[in-house]
């Protein structure tokens, strides 16, 4: 699939869409497909401090619990209320379903993340083994 070019990606299968000093975060279509039916998402509260690379929540499928890893450092400003009632929306449209919004302490952190093209290559290799 073609991954949207308006955002960056992590090797942990999150996407981050930056708009100046704030960003929106979700998981990729590859992630939702690998997980299967998503039944539960645990996110931090508004005001929580996130550190790039550290876990900030969990996403659960019927069978398994998966950690969510922060793509960047900053503070949570908003959490998507839909996640509590309709987690399956993430399966239906992973790139259109955001999980959290945050301020970016250091927007330059995103420079080291994967572009859409690099992420596509990365998942092609991962799925290939």
């Amino acid at each position: 699939m073609a991954y949207p070019t308006d955002r960056k990606y992590t090797k942990e299968h999150e996407w981050i869409h930056a708009d100046g000093g704030t960003a929106t975060i979700g998981i990729t279509d590859y992630a939702q497909e690998s997980l299967g039916d998503i039944v539960f998402v645990e996110t931090p509260k508004v005001g929580a401090e996130l550190t790039a690379g550290k876990t900030f929540g969990t996403v659960e499928s019927v069978k398994a619990v998966s950690d969510l890893f922060a793509p960047a450092t900053g503070t949570v400003t908003e959490v998507n209320g839909d996640l509590a009632t309709s987690p399956e929306k993430v399966n239906k449209d992973a790139h259109g379903s955001w999980m959290i919004k945050m301020t970016l302490k250091n927007p330059a952190e995103l420079d080291s993340l994967l572009s859409a093209a690099d992420y596509e290559k990365f998942v092609a290799e991962e799925g290939g083994h």
Partner: protein, 386 residues
């Protein structure tokens, strides 16, 4: 000296079909098995689960094991090994049972079938070798023959309210004559683009592990199991049949409170704790584990298996701790998962007797925090009698 090789993963006769359908595969006790089929073909654990509850689903269960016990003292051997009363079985009848260690704990749970040649004991995939050795070693004193025929069968489970209708399309026998927990030997026959095809010597048992009506089809491995699988998928289209993997198999049996070896039953859990009293015939004068069970009953059971329903947000999973209201650890979850049919998060857990009454409030420790749950009646799901 030869180097240690990683054990080769085992495949059923249907393995290529699962892979070709795009199933997510997992190593299950050394077997390469489908967990779930793709969302793109309408599958996924939740859809597969609901197909079995409302229509019909197909499972490849060829990884399960099969042991035959034959000979003049086959019944005596089975009575010695298994806790249920096999002497009550009529020809073509089956019963749920278990083999116990001398301590009254579980070797495995089984289904015992009384066939014209003797007894067929169907066992779990993960305990094939252990069970065969156990049966062979504990029946030497009887005039009987123990044969491991696990590799001889392809086994397909067809489960759900429409299962009988689907299987009847290809079965010669009149399935309405086969009651639950009975079986038969019959032919399968179908029309393949004008050519009549068939498979003889097929065992059809009205058994399953889903809490629904259904049949398990046992085919010889050299029969065309792939053709039967594909045929059932094709003919089942009118019933909205789905192929189902181990993921749905687990959520279905959990809702129906069917035990899974290594979880609700194991070599450290006895029959009374597991709540399987009704399958344990203490009026039988002798069977392995009977003495220990008598002592355990006299001493009083300390823990018991209960059903839990989460009342606070969170999913209880296998191995999670169960806590009392003050946060003290009192037990553990044996199996836990979202329940696709009930749309709740459910679990089975061992707790002390004083916390086992219906309505008792407990907590399940999820990632370091206690989430509220309540003891509920089981099974969580029971199919309506038609």
């Amino acid at each position: 000296m030869s180097s240690l090789e990683a054990p080769t993963v085992r495949k059923t006769a249907l393995n290529a079909v699962h892979r070709q359908m795009g199933a997510k595969m997992v190593d299950f006790n050394g077997w390469d098995m489908p967990v779930e089929y793709p969302a793109a073909i309408g599958c996924g654990i939740i859809n597969e689960h609901m197909a079995v509850r409302t229509a019909v689903g197909l499972f490849d269960v060829s990884h399960m094991g099969d042991i035959q016990v034959k000979g003049p003292q086959a019944l005596e051997a089975v009575q010695h090994l298994c806790m249920n009363d096999a002497s009550r079985l009529q020809l073509w009848q089956a019963q749920y049972s278990a083999m116990l260690y001398p301590q009254g704990t579980f070797v495995d749970d089984v289904i015992v079938h009384r066939a014209p040649y003797g007894y067929l004991i169907v066992i779990n995939a993960g305990t094939r070798e252990k069970d065969f050795s156990w049966i062979r070693d504990n029946t030497r004193q009887f005039d009987c023959e123990v044969k491991n025929v696990s590799d001889d069968f392809t086994q397909i489970a067809v489960q759900g309210p429409k299962a009988a209708a689907l299987v009847q399309k290809i079965a010669k026998a009149d399935l309405s004559q086969i009651k639950p927990y009975w079986f038969t030997m019959t032919h399968l026959q179908w029309d393949d683009a004008g050519t009549k095809r068939g498979i003889g010597d097929v065992m059809l048992a009205r058994t399953g592990y889903t809490g629904e009506d259904g049949f398990e089809i046992y085919l010889a491995n050299d029969a065309d199991g792939v053709a039967v699988w594909n045929l059932l998928l094709e003919l089942g289209k009118e019933y909205c049949v789905l192929p189902c993997g181990l993921g749905a198999r687990n959520t279905l049996r959990l809702e129906a409170k069917l035990p899974l070896y290594g979880h609700e039953i194991s070599d450290t859990i006895n029959v009374w704790e597991a709540g399987l009293d009704r399958f344990c015939k203490m009026e039988k004068p002798e069977f392995v584990g009977r003495e220990a069970l008598e002592k355990a009953k006299a001493a009083g059971v300390k823990k018991t298996l209960v059903g839990l329903e989460m009342v606070e947000r969170g999913i209880a999973r296998d191995g999670y701790k169960v806590l009392d209201d003050s946060g003290r650890e009192i037990g553990y979850v044996t199996s836990g998962s979202p329940s696709p049919f009930l749309k709740k998060n459910i679990a089975l857990a061992y707790v002390p007797l004083e916390h086992s009454a219906l309505g008792s409030k407990v907590k399940v420790e999820i990632r370091g925090q206690g989430a509220g749950a309540v003891v509920v009646p089981t099974p969580f799901y029971k199919r309506k009698k038609t």
